[in-house]
């Protein structure tokens, strides 16, 4: 192998990568937080005895889980505007595609967690006069969250990685900036390796954090 490594392309353009990193982080936080929040609502709709709530949410979940996420992103950029008659920026299209996709997966996680709690927890809460929503907030969801933390962490990590797909729509996130550098300077090895390392450094700690959180919460099992 007589390839001459030259990481100066990375060091000299680190600012561009850093900007990309910020956009990636932004996408990650918005899609993960928004997706999880919306996921709770969809899980509740899925569990509702009212069919006009449970049926559409079932369809929603199945649609997002059974089509490629790349198609979803592209669809929100190119097809969705035709439906709503309003052009979206690539960033918004990605937030929609990735966020809604995440909400579908989170909904299934939350639904599983809620079902796995015994009826007794609802009744214990109701017996002291709690309303449905109070019981959900104070008794049910905290336990669901604890039980489902490993699954939720997986999802969050997945979103972090999937955010790189936004480069397809030219959202100037980490992957896009990297590909731009790599093709401008013909240094794919250095640039892409650096990208991988940055993604790793970004995502690995979140797994550690969740492990730590799990241990901390396990006390009240």
């Amino acid at each position: 192998m007589d390839y001459q490594f030259d990481f100066s392309v990375v060091t000299q353009n680190f600012g561009a990568l850093l900007q990309g990193l910020l956009v990636t982080a932004e996408l990650w936080v918005i899609c993960a937080a928004g997706g999880a929040t919306l996921g709770v609502c969809i899980a509740l709709a899925r569990l509702s005895p009212r069919r006009w709530l449970s049926l559409p949410s079932l369809v929603y979940v199945q649609l997002f889980r059974n089509t490629p996420v790349l198609i979803q992103l592209i669809w929100f950029y190119y097809a969705f505007p035709i439906v709503v008659g309003q052009q979206l920026t690539p960033f918004v299209a990605v937030v929609l595609g990735l966020g809604l996709n995440t909400s579908a997966y989170c909904a299934e996680i939350f639904r599983g967690g809620i079902i796995s709690l015994t009826r007794g927890q609802w009744e214990g809460a109701k017996a002291i006069g709690m309303s449905q929503s109070m019981a959900l907030r104070r008794v049910i969801m905290p336990q669901v969250f604890r039980r489902m933390l490993p699954a939720l962490t997986n999802r969050v990590i997945e979103v972090g990685k999937m955010s790189s797909l936004a480069s397809v729509l030219s959202v100037p996130e980490l992957m896009y900036q990297g590909r731009l550098l790599s093709s401008t300077f013909y240094r794919p090895f250095e640039v892409i390796t650096t990208l991988a390392i940055i993604y790793f450094l970004l995502i690995f700690p979140s797994g550690l954090f969740s492990r730590w959180l799990e241990v901390r919460m396990a006390r009240g099992k």
Partner: protein
């Protein structure tokens, strides 16, 4: 007779085609302690659970302190239905406490937090005030030394006493016990029954479903034998447990005492 604090009129409950309660009426005076006995599956739990609307009655009315709960609506078919608003049910449940066979403590909260929870979220009491009330109820059931433990770290008997303290903290006018000792190891039954007896000595109004006939005899002011979805026999502990008149009651007690010594 004074005005009853709880009044059940012609209560029916069906689960699908299964008609479990077939017209039950009961007036409860303040300070009465009522033990409900009966065979497995006879509907004892169902009756208790209808009183605080853990189950919705299929028919009949329930009144607390003379106020009928729910509002009567005419359906298109001309039948009358009783509708209950969630708000009203929550208020009722805060006034009618319940202790379950399976405790149903909140596993993610400490003992103290479990008992404070209703005060803080439902009654909107200040934290310090709630803590004080919780502490005094936990002292009453003998658990003031386990405030920071989680339910999983306690024995079954201790967990049930926490559950009693949690119900008491809401200052309920009536407390419902659904076989509070049935899931406990025999050596732990006593501590829970002692806590319940303390409440009896305070003159609290209580309804207790139990298989502990000995306890029912000493505890209750009235014993009800439930069979076939109706009150088969009602009377003082002496009358129902010692000198039952109905054939069914006699058989039930005989079967119960088969292995007594």
């Amino acid at each position: 007779m004074n005005k009853p604090i709880l009044s059940v009129t012609d209560l029916h409950k069906s689960f699908g085609p299964q008609h479990v309660l077939k017209g039950i009426s009961l007036d409860v005076q303040a300070g009465e302690r009522i033990a409900i006995i009966g065979g497995s599956g006879s509907g004892k739990s169902t009756f208790l659970r209808c009183i605080n609307f853990m189950e919705m009655p299929s028919q009949g009315r329930i009144a607390l302190d003379g106020h009928s709960l729910g509002s009567v609506k005419q359906t298109r078919a001309g039948e009358t239905r009783v509708n209950y608003a969630e708000r009203e049910l929550c208020q009722v449940r805060a006034r009618v406490g319940m202790v379950f066979q399976q405790f149903n403590l909140f596993p993610h909260m400490t003992v103290l937090e479990n008992v404070m929870e209703g005060l803080v979220t439902v009654k909107r009491a200040a934290k310090t005030e709630a803590r004080e009330v919780a502490l005094s109820q936990l002292t009453k059931v003998g658990l003031s030394n386990r405030l920071d433990a989680y339910p999983s770290q306690l024995s079954g008997g201790q967990q049930q006493r926490v559950a009693i303290a949690r119900a008491l903290a809401m200052e309920p006018e009536i407390i419902l016990f659904d076989e509070p000792t049935s899931s406990l190891d025999p050596e732990l039954v006593g501590e829970v029954l002692r806590s319940i007896r303390v409440l009896a000595d305070e003159g609290r109004t209580m309804l207790l479903v139990t298989h502990e006939l000995g306890f029912a005899y000493h505890f209750a002011t009235k014993v009800i034998f439930l069979a076939d979805g109706v009150f088969h026999e009602v009377g003082t502990p002496e009358e129902v447990l010692k000198e039952p008149k109905q054939q069914k009651t006699k058989e039930f007690l005989r079967r119960f005492n088969e292995f007594a010594f």
